[in-house]
Symmetry: C2
Subunit: 96 residues, 2 copies
C-alpha cells in the first residue's frame, strides 16, 4: 500500500522566493529516489504563503530512506527557517 | 495547469464507517467526471479521525462542474453532518 504525505508550510512573506528556490533542489533530488511516486510543491490559490509538498511513496521504507537522505537532511532544515510557524504534516493510507 | 485539492475532514469517532460508506459512492461517481485526474479518500496513520480527500482536476472548470454535480450536492452535505468541525480545504497550483 502506498503512502501519501501532505506537508503544509506557512512561509514568511519575504522568504517565498528563497523557499521555492530551495524546494527546486529538494524536488529534483527526491524524484530520483527509489520508491518515490510523486513529490511536488503546490501553492494555495487563495493564500500564496501556504506552500505544500504533496508526496506519494511506495511504502514506509522508501519514506524512511527519504528522511535519511543527504539532500533531505541538508535542505529541509534551511526551508524550516523560512517558515512562520510549524509545518502541518499528515501521513496517509488510501482507503477509498 | 492542473488543480490539486486537499480537503481535510475531522470525522466523529462513531461516524467513521458511515463516512467511508458515503465517500465510496462519491468517489465512484466523481471518477467518471470529465477532467477528474485523481480523487481518493485517505486516512491519517496517526489519527484515524482525519479523513482527507485528495483530488486533482484538469482545470478550474472541471472542478466547478464537480461542485455542481448531482452526486456532490447530494452526498457532501450528508458527509459534513458526520464531522466534528469545519473541513480544511486548500486548492493548489503546482509550482515545482
Amino acid at each position: 500500500m502506498t503512502i501519501k504525505v501532505v506537508a503544509k508550510h506557512y512561509v514568511k512573506p519575504e522568504k517565498i522566493e528563497d523557499y521555492i528556490g530551495l524546494s527546486k533542489e529538494l524536488v529534483k533530488e527526491t524524484l530520483k529516489e527509489e520508491g518515490c511516486i510523486e513529490y511536488g510543491l503546490y501553492q494555495d490559490l487563495k493564500n500564496p504563503l501556504i506552500l505544500t509538498m504533496i508526496e506519494e511513496w511506495e511504502d514506509n521504507n522508501s519514506l524512511g530512506r527519504h528522511f535519511n537522505s543527504e539532500h533531505f537532511k541538508e535542505i529541509v532544515p534551511l526551508m524550516a527557517n523560512l517558515c512562520e510557524k510549524e509545518t502541518e504534516i499528515n501521513v496517509y493510507n488510501k482507503i477509498v
